[in-house]
């Protein structure tokens, strides 16, 4: 008995006092982390904890999709001083989280390291970047052999500047195979702790931006929580235990009315657009290989039904070209071309085109046969379990059957789906991976037409139906090499590309998948919204640089 008491006493003394985070200074964020935290490396952004780039590591520029403008971040300014030279000026007084100054050498190192180690994801820029010249202690000139203005813009907002004193002297494998569990960046937050179901970022009180930008991150801690189901996310939002949610949640009108859940718009569609979702068609498979046949399909699909049924009006139908209604994109929208070559839901038109092509129901089974009288069957696919998409492809198949095309929806597992997608092994496939928000509308057309896809076994970057057209390749190159300031020039290329897209339709844009965002006012207020549009409210990986970080400057707690 005595022994037991002694043991208990010892246990009691070992037990430490736990620190509980102050709820009023902690923001709970969900929807951007689906797996247990596994790495914080700026070199493997594909599965680094969301916020690794944006909160811990920072980029030279931010890009705000709400305004369509680049915003200098680590850089004080940046511009093309000639056709082939981009000059950046670094801010004065930048520091790393360990107190050491962030200098021009760190920026130089970040780029040079990818020249040395070709496994680093941004190393291909050295195919078109010739050299970097250090002009003075705050100025760098990037001299390009082949200036790709649009790609460069994307690189400016996605390459994380890394500290030379940490990464110098490491081998390629050490760099790429490191979990980087103690990331040292320049950002407003550092990683404090993590567990299988959460990652805790703590405010960096010495962040350079407080002084240089006058911006103050409000939350003392940002806890990214891993939530595995929508039910839990909804429950937590209702209880006020999840402040900032980027899940696809059904029943938004009810959540708004009964629980005061905050969304971007007060009425439908409630959400901002995040990408263009549509169907890629296998252009090497008969009869999908006939452009007019693909056009008939476009006329046959009723997107408004999908918007209503699958998404409860949380998304909007796409324009025929598929250019998202965000300022940086929509300013290039070719009205005339769209009017002339565009399509809209018109089954009569679809029937007419198919009749003219000679696709008729000869054997009276309810489906059209090809001009030689042979029956054919097509499948349309999306991953199993993506319920909104499953409903969508059912609706599409239904519409296509109405005009006499025998189309059947199939739902393989996500991994099989991905493999089929990348290898081009499908008839019709619903997808939106490469068509997301970016700093340039070039990325959209490059995704739709990605020229290398036609020749290679796998394509990861779009044009999954392997459409081939040398003219498109040329136009894409031309656009990539048209300075962003030459808006007229870009507009002309966009018009030409749009015309080809609408005539050929290797991809039929259908709707804009949403930038899902719901917030609770329980602890934090002043969330961004249509009326107070200070930040793109998304916490997914790669979106902190688009505005996620600015949300943290704008919200307030009592």
């Amino acid at each position: 008995m005595k022994r037991l008491i002694v043991l208990l006493l010892i246990a009691l003394t070992i037990v430490a006092f736990a620190q509980t985070f102050d709820r009023s200074k902690t923001v709970f964020v969900g929807g951007g982390m689906w797996s247990p935290p596994s790495n914080w490396s700026p070199f493997t952004p594909w599965n680094a904890v969301t916020g690794t780039i944006g909160l811990v590591y920072e980029t030279l520029f931010l890009y705000d999709p709400l305004t369509g403008k680049f915003e200098p971040w680590l850089a004080e300014s940046g511009s093309w001083i000639s056709d082939s030279v981009f000059q950046i000026k670094l801010r004065n007084g930048l520091t790393w989280q360990d107190g050491k100054p962030l200098t021009i050498d760190d920026v130089l190192f970040t780029f040079e390291i990818a020249k040395k180690h070709t496994g680093i994801n941004y190393s291909p820029i050295w195919n078109w970047l010739e050299r970097i010249v250090k002009v003075d202690e705050r100025t760098l000139n990037f001299v390009f052999s082949d200036p790709r203005y649009h790609e460069w813009g994307q690189n400016l907002i996605s390459i994380a500047i890394i500290p030379k004193h940490v990464w110098e002297g490491k081998t390629q494998d050490e760099i790429l195979q490191s979990a980087n569990e103690k990331p040292l960046g320049s950002g407003s937050y550092f990683v404090e702790t993590w567990d299988s179901d959460r990652n805790v970022f703590k405010k960096n009180p010495n962040w350079w931006g407080i002084k240089l930008l006058g911006l103050d991150p409000k939350p003392e801690r940002v806890v990214v929580v891993r939530i595995l189901s929508n039910n839990v996310a909804i429950g937590m939002l209702m209880k006020g235990e999840l402040d900032w949610s980027n899940f696809f949640l059904p029943g938004i009108p009810t959540l708004r009315k009964a629980y005061g859940v905050h969304t971007w718009y007060e009425s439908a569609p409630y959400m901002l657009p995040a990408n263009t979702t549509g169907i890629f068609l296998n252009v090497n498979k008969y009869p999908l290989s006939i452009p007019e046949f693909r056009r008939a399909m476009a006329f046959a699909i009723d997107t408004s039904k999908i918007v209503d049924r699958a998404f409860e009006r949380m998304v909007t139908a796409s324009n025929p070209v598929g250019i998202m209604p965000i300022p940086g994109f929509i300013k290039y929208y070719p009205e005339e071309v769209a009017k002339q070559f565009g399509f809209k839901y018109d089954p009569a038109m679809a029937n007419k085109i198919l009749d003219e092509l000679g696709f008729k129901d000869v054997n009276k089974d309810g489906f059209r046969e090809d001009p030689n009288g042979r029956p054919f069957k097509l499948t349309i696919q999306c991953p199993y379990g993506w319920t909104d998409w499953m409903v969508s492809i059912q609706s599409i198949a239904e519409d296509l059957r109405k005009v006499g095309l025998n189309v059947e929806p199939i739902y393989p597992d996500a991994s099989k789906y991905n493999d089929d997608l990348f290898a081009g092994r499908f008839d019709i496939i619903l997808n939106n991976y490469p068509t997301g928000v970016s700093s340039t509308v070039w990325s959209y057309f490059n995704a739709v037409f990605y020229p290398a896809a036609a020749e290679s076994e796998y394509s990861y970057s779009g044009n999954f139906g392997k459409y081939k057209n040398p003219e498109v390749t040329e136009l894409l190159d031309q656009m990539n090499r048209t300075p962003l300031t030459n808006e007229e020039g870009i507009k002309k290329v966009v018009a030409k590309l749009s015309e080809i897209l609408l005539k050929e339709l290797p991809f039929i844009p259908l709707w804009y998948n949403g930038a899902w965002f719901q917030a609770s006012d329980a602890v934090w207020k002043a969330w961004p919204s249509e009326k107070n549009p200070y930040a793109w409210p998304i916490s997914w990986g790669g979106h902190w640089q688009l505005g996620g970080i600015k949300v943290l400057f704008g919200i307030k707690s009592e």
Binding site: W46, N47, N121, A179, K239, N446
Partner: protein, 342 residues
């Protein structure tokens, strides 16, 4: 003296029995692990594809990643070489690097997640086993009690756990607000050895734990009830009854006989249950190995799948081995066969 010889002989037979068992277990282990290695590789698709699909980047960057990681994971080598290096690594205790949770070692991933699974699952299995069997034995052959309890047991086992879990979480978590609905402990805490943490952990643990107990309880209870009824019909019970033994005594004997198949069931469940908390994890957003295994499969993470199944294989074999030993104690017939007393 004669007894002593018998025991020595018995020990020898026992040794033989155990050696044979162990050899069989080792062989099973070898084949199970080989299948475990092979199956993920026969899945259609390519893990690196899944990996790059999660990365929206410039096309050129994606190409670089694709080739680097295919090489880094050795997926470009011949299959036989991959197989032999897998065994070599296994003997070093190296289960490889997870692709889905790159670059964490698979062993670390599993050891991080397993404690949560075990903390919920083991107590739930044992509590439901104990309580379920007792309840089942208690209600058997008691008309009124049986008539009311049986439907409840059936409802519990038959109700889809997913639905049941959501209902529990919703009612106790959101409506009554008695319990939290997500996380292993408060999101306002860090893991530490402190009362605040332990309390928070238990508070978050109750709902997943009790939901599992409730659904598992019914199965054990029904099984036990049926077994007891069967045993009460057996000749020895009849004989005891006709000798005038008390009901209590007869039931005691029936229970000892009825528990045997239940223990076998327990062994099977213990082994496979490692991955069986998937639904609990999803419904309560609770960490654990089930969801990781599922993601491993969906992401074709060969190494993670292998690692998880390795643990399951070991779990099943160990549990069965223990039960084999346990039977010696529990079932005098087996014990006496091997000690040569019968």
């Amino acid at each position: 003296m004669v007894g002593g010889v018998k025991i020595i002989k018995g020990v020898k037979i026992l040794q033989k029995y155990l050696t044979r068992k162990i050899v069989v277990y080792l062989l099973t282990f070898f084949f199970a692990v080989t299948i475990d290695w092979a199956i993920p590789r026969f899945m259609p698709g390519n893990p690196i594809n899944v990996l790059v699909s999660r990365f929206a980047a410039l096309p050129e960057s994606i190409k670089v990643m694709q080739s680097y990681f295919t090489q880094a994971f050795g997926l470009d080598r011949p299959l036989l070489e991959q197989y032999t290096s897998f065994w070599k690594a296994l003997f070093r205790g190296d289960l490889g690097i997870s692709i889905y949770l790159y670059p964490q070692p698979v062993l670390k991933v599993i050891l991080e997640a397993l404690p949560y699974t075990i903390a919920v699952l083991l107590p739930a299995i044992f509590v439901s086993f104990m309580v379920g069997n007792r309840l089942g034995a208690f209600v058997a052959r008691k008309k009124r009690l049986d008539n009311t309890a049986l439907p409840i047991f059936y409802t519990l086992t038959a109700s889809p756990y997913f639905w049941f879990g959501i209902l529990l979480a919703w009612f106790f978590g959101v409506v009554l607000k008695w319990f939290p609905i997500a996380g292993a402990y408060s999101y306002l805490l860090r893991r530490s050895f402190s009362w605040t943490f332990i309390k928070s952990f238990l508070y978050h643990w109750i709902l997943p734990f009790s939901s599992l107990v409730l659904v598992m309880l019914g199965g054990w209870a029904i099984g036990m009830r049926n077994m007891i009824i069967y045993e009460l019909e057996a000749n020895y019970s009849r004989y005891l009854e006709s000798c005038g033994a008390s009901q209590k005594l007869i039931r005691k004997y029936s229970y000892r006989n009825a528990i045997l198949p239940q223990v076998t069931g327990l062994a099977i469940q213990l082994g496979t249950a490692v991955a069986g908390t998937l639904t609990t994890e999803i419904v309560f957003s609770y960490p654990g190995i089930g969801y990781i295994l599922m993601q491993g499969i969906l992401n074709q993470d060969y190494f993670l799948i292998q690692g998880c199944f390795l643990f399951i294989v070991i779990g099943v074999l160990l549990a069965n081995f223990i039960v084999d030993l346990f039977y010696l104690i529990l079932d005098p017939r087996i014990r006496k066969t091997y000690t040569g007393e019968v």
